[in-house]
Subunit: 413 residues, 2 copies
């Protein structure tokens, strides 16, 4: 079953907005084994739209059109469908009532523009849009299916999920792809691939393994087109777990800060941070999780040596002797944060984020991270890279991961 | 001059990566008055690629192809060009030397795959790629120009800037669009449009004004296709400045945290923060600027009342009487942060980020923000929205903007 995606809108052609609809659709359709053959983007131009319908019909079984369904004169999709299918717009009572109710719930009023949304091509099936006034449309010709959807991403996505895919599944008896994501932290992609080489070679052909790296993180994705393989996939996850237990942060689509939150709640423990080079980034990650006030007390961001001395109570002699970016200082920062905030765990960072400040002994990207549990502390030195933003991001992720390893009794990696 | 953009790659069709190249190209070409007529995305399929060349030649004067230029067997662009232009690959000495030098500088070695990069279609002009081994290609037929570029975004962009645009400017005597961005904070798009209505109506037709809103921010963009109008645009910026002086944060493409950094350095002042609901987000923004240690001492993130009492020294009675989210508490937080960190300015926040914790009097999205200068303090209550992430982001931006207004002697908005 071949699909063509047609995105309509001048704003796409001049790059005012990025066409994320097309990539979302490609991925979403791929989950059901539907292959996108081509995506085209064109402007708000009637002849060009009709031409594109003609071209698409030649190559594909299903044509998905996004954009151009609004009520203003720029919006030409319905007109193009009428011309192409040689039909006319007719009033649809059901759509009219839906639009009316939609507006009433939002204190909006029905005007001429809004009522025009109830005019749809004869022979088309309206698809209910719960987030907007423009209905989706389903219309067929010579066994080719044309589906027109609004360009607003969440309206389009909801229509695809609620209205379009159920119909396509029924029509073509589609299966669904089954995915399992495994979040790993602390291991580079190449090393991970090496460790999983044997496992990967033994994989059944109907199961695919993909590596999706981003700074500090590698996501593994196991997928299959056959829902009968769900159990097999779960077994594969267990196998990967046996190979790299310490690197797996989550198999449930959670980020490291959510995993940390759950662990702390489960163990009824609290946390604080003492951040130098990460400058509040760890705190921000922790507090991004709703309900984090249950386990997070607070932080001291110590961006100057004076703050490290006066508020975090790291003795001046220690800073003078070893430097602010040192094991001695970062461990005291973590230990004292636990005391100051009366927490069970504390994370501390001290490093050189860049772009300046590096030395031969401590180049840019050097970061000491400590995790304290009550009055015990462990620490590790990392060497990240040259880019300030990345160094801050990676140090924050590695710090939270260090706490995870500590709580789960793994050794620090 | 009409352009068609052809993006090649299976990974684009299955949505593994978003096609940002096409939108970047659309915007970049638009800067020179070149209109993108159509963008198409196709897979790594020889026949489909050749078909797309044929279609594009019918409609357009310039065809820009990205992707498929690498040395592996998936990469079909050069083969498709040879078939389409009825020519063959020939060895290019200059490209060979460039690839060799490129690899030597990166301790790479020339192997068979790399040398194949020096094979280019006869009659094509190679375009030097300083960031990779695949040269860009320029090839013409019946006065139509085909330009093939690598799919890696920074290679593609650099080739467009250094090699392609200079040639197109020369060939078609193109002008360049001139932009000026104006960053505003603290005023909603609709209100801004109202204030600028008269100004907008009086704009010369060759000058365009666009509104680009994002959470907490509206960017205005003045643009013209004629470089002779540069001075006129600068005058327009001054006119906007006269209408909304207090809302304009930067006309030099800087973010609020960079503007704050410059103001503090200029006035030789220092800053600290005392954050509750923003949870480290303001500190993170401040420390994202390289060199921020020059003016930023540190922060206390006080996520519990106890931390507000014990570390920020806000009396328990005040918190009990007014609640943690109150003018009284946030002002004391700011004043005490100045004392604790020995800074000139301090920013404090206390609010209900959500998704829970709202009351009738203090619904979700209520945030008190205070800015203290030495022992003087001002504060304001904001009501943002329902979404935790947005509330944190907006409160952080508004807090930094409050400091900007304070430093520049504007009243708080």
């Amino acid at each position: 079953m071949k699909v063509e995606i047609i995105s309509i809108g001048d704003e796409l052609l001049i790059g005012q907005i990025v066409n994320t609809n097309a990539s979302w659709l490609g991925q979403f359709l791929n989950n059901y084994g539907l292959t996108t053959n081509k995506c085209i983007t064109i402007g708000d131009n009637l002849l060009q739209i009709i031409d594109s319908f003609e071209e698409a019909e030649k190559d594909c079984d299903i044509v998905i059109i996004t954009g151009g369904l609004g009520p203003t004169k720029d919006d030409l999709t319905k007109e193009a469908l009428c011309k192409y299918f040689d039909t006319k717009l007719i009033f649809n009572e059901k759509v009219f009532e839906q639009v009316k109710t939609f507006l009433e719930n939002r204190s909006g009023t029905m005007n001429e523009l809004n009522s025009s949304q109830a005019m749809i091509p004869e022979n088309s099936i309206p698809l209910t849009n719960i987030y907007g006034t423009a209905p989706g449309l389903w219309i067929e010709k010579h066994n080719k299916i044309f589906i027109a959807l609004p360009g607003v991403p969440y309206e389009m996505k909801t229509l695809m999920e609620n209205e379009v895919i159920p119909r396509l599944i029924k029509r073509f008896s589609l299966g669904e792809i089954f995915h399992k994501n495994i979040l790993t932290i602390g291991i580079a992609e190449a090393l991970l691939a090496e460790k999983l080489k044997e496992f990967e070679n033994s994989l059944e052909p109907e199961i695919k393994l993909a590596y999706l790296p981003s700074p500090g993180i590698v996501k593994l994705r196991l997928s299959t087109y056959n829902s009968l393989n769900k159990e097999l996939i779960e077994n594969k996850v267990k196998q990967i777990f046996d190979i790299i237990p310490e690197y797996i942060v989550s198999t449930e689509n959670e980020n490291i800060n959510e995993v940390i939150g759950k662990l702390l709640i489960k163990n009824q423990k609290t946390i604080s941070t003492a951040e130098s080079c990460t400058g509040g980034s760890i705190s921000k990650m922790i507090t991004a999780v709703p309900g984090s006030s249950e386990y997070y007390n607070g932080s001291i961001i110590a961006y100057s040596n004076k703050v490290k001395e006066e508020i975090l109570r790291v003795p001046n002699e220690i800073i003078s002797k070893y430097g602010a970016v040192s094991q001695q200082v970062v461990e005291l920062m973590a230990l004292n944060a636990n005391k100051i905030f009366n927490t069970d765990y504390s994370l501390a960072t001290s490093g050189i984020a860049g772009p300046t400040g590096g030395t031969k002994d401590k180049p840019i990207g050097t970061v000491w991270i400590a995790v304290a549990e009550n009055d015990k502390v462990i620490s590790k030195k990392y060497l990240f890279g040259d880019i300030r933003e990345r160094n801050i991001e990676k140090a924050s992720i590695y710090a939270l991961n260090m706490l995870r390893l500590k709580i789960l009794n793994f050794s620090i990696i």
